[in-house]
């Protein structure tokens, strides 16, 4: 109801009730004339008397907050006639549950990536020593014990000796190492891609063919080390067979090793080669004895392996 000469309009409450809106109207501050729906909802749920009763029970300083909550509750009830505020509470609780679950999953993923990152850092930090030791060509000629322990790849010491054995194939091994390190980044991303069921690109396919990824991505930390050790062993096994051959003749062999590492062939080829290498492992000594003398001499000349020559002969 508009007062004559007055600039203020009747509040929504007085308009709805069709009565004169006095300056002392208790509901006028909370129900402006341009929002009639707000009062309708509040009136429908609480009623004017009950709203005023509630306002009387609270402190004057809290009246505005109280009215806000009443209006809010009424609007919710208008939106959800059956469940009212329950509906909103349930939805919020569901959102909280979903967010907590997602947070948990993200934390798990983060821990996994941190672990991967840590392992990668360890591998990278270990590599320089590994590479630099290969640079010292011929400085630590392998002896009988080394040869035998090299054949026995189950012990950690033999792994070190395997490193020495790989000295003979320095350039290729370096390539292999670099290739492996380059692939590790792809593996890192591709592991995530695989985990997230993304399309595996050609780069990732390489990693996918790696037995590393044949296992569960989430359990690949130990597997990575195992694969690496297996790979190193396979390399050394191959090296062992070529140890007594001419260095020039080793290039084609290591080319095949390079191809093997790149896993262009199938894993079966890898396994078959591994089995072949294991066979070579068992017959290494006999092969040494069966090696050509000329080959031995040339190999010794290349690597200054006079002790080898002596051991073989």
């Amino acid at each position: 109801m508009t007062l004559k000469g007055a600039t203020s309009q009747a509040c929504a409450a007085c308009k709805y009730q069709r009565r004169k809106c006095t300056p002392e109207c208790p509901l006028a501050p909370y129900f402006p004339a341009d929002q009639p729906k707000m009062f309708q909802n509040a009136h429908k749920l609480f009623g004017v008397c009950n709203i005023l009763k509630i306002l009387k029970t609270v402190d004057p300083c809290f009246k505005f907050e109280t009215m806000k909550s009443i209006i809010c509750q009424a609007n919710i009830r208008e939106k959800f006639p059956v469940y009212g505020c329950w509906e909103v509470i349930w939805q919020l609780q569901y959102q909280i549950m979903a967010a907590e679950q997602e947070l948990q999953n993200v934390h798990k993923q983060l821990a996994l990536y941190r672990q991967h990152h840590y392992h990668q850092q360890q591998q990278i930090s270990a590599m320089p020593d590994y590479v630099t030791s290969q640079l010292e060509l011929g400085m630590a000629p392998p002896n009988n014990n080394n040869t035998i322990s090299f054949l026995n790849h189950s012990t950690p010491q033999s792994y070190d000796n395997n490193n020495n054995a790989i000295h003979h194939a320095l350039p290729v091994t370096q390539q292999q190492q670099q290739h492996y390190s380059n692939r590790s980044d792809d593996a890192y991303t591709s592991a995530y891609d695989i985990d997230s069921k993304q399309t595996i690109t050609t780069d990732n396919v390489l990693w996918a063919q790696n037995p590393f990824t044949n296992n569960s991505i989430n359990e690949n930390n130990d597997n990575a080390e195992t694969v690496q050790s297996q790979f190193g062993v396979s390399q050394t096994l191959a090296m062992g067979s070529e140890d007594v051959q001419d260095y020039d003749e080793l290039h084609p062999f290591f080319d095949t090793i390079d191809d093997r590492q790149s896993y262009i062939d199938s894993k079966e080829a890898y396994d078959s080669s591994s089995s072949e290498e294991s066979l070579k492992d068992t017959t290494q000594i006999s092969m040494d004895h069966a090696a050509d003398d000329n080959t031995l001499k040339s190999a010794a000349a290349c690597f200054s392996l006079t002790s080898v020559k002596l051991s073989v002969s």
């Binding site: 809010c72 509750q73 609007n75």
Partner: protein
């Protein structure tokens, strides 16, 4: 008279809590009787104090019969919350939950940022999983309380 007011009579049911409170005869077609049993007098007392019997009756008539029990229970909950907290009522609980959602969302965003650092730029598409704003899920009601700082298209001030 005594038989009509007898509570143990098998021929007529005892008056419901609403009719007992209102001191009136509980008719067979009493709208309150199925939802306000005489064993729970405080339930109707709270509802009547906050909303009033006529408003509750109108609300019950507007919903389907199989939904009335849920409607009554939700009203009873809201009434009890308003009696316990006259200022905020059940909206206080909603505000608390909203703040929790916002806090979790912030934490999720921060953790996803950490994940991105490790996964690299190529995993940016993975952030779509975790960075969805929980409070803005289109499948859910995005409620904005009067005290919410976020703008919401489903705010309670639409008229």
């Amino acid at each position: 008279m005594a038989s009509s007011s007898s509570y143990s009579s098998s021929s007529c049911n005892s008056p419901c809590a609403a009719c007992k409170f209102l001191r009136r005869k509980c008719m067979p077609d009493c709208v309150f009787a199925p939802y306000f049993p005489p064993e729970e007098p405080h339930k109707f007392a709270n509802v009547h104090k906050i909303f009033g019997a006529s408003n509750v009756s109108k609300l019950l008539n507007e919903v389907l019969p199989h939904q009335r029990e849920d409607a009554v229970n939700s009203l009873a909950y809201e009434a009890e919350a308003r009696i316990k907290d006259p200022v905020y009522g059940c909206v206080g609980a909603i505000s608390v939950l909203q703040r929790q959602v916002l806090r979790l969302q912030k934490e999720l965003d921060a953790t996803n940022a950490d994940l991105l650092r490790y996964a690299g730029a190529s995993c940016n598409r993975g952030t779509g999983r975790g960075s969805h704003h929980v409070g803005q899920n289109p499948g859910l009601y995005s409620f904005s309380s009067p005290w919410s700082t976020t703008d919401d298209p489903y705010g309670d001030h639409r008229n």
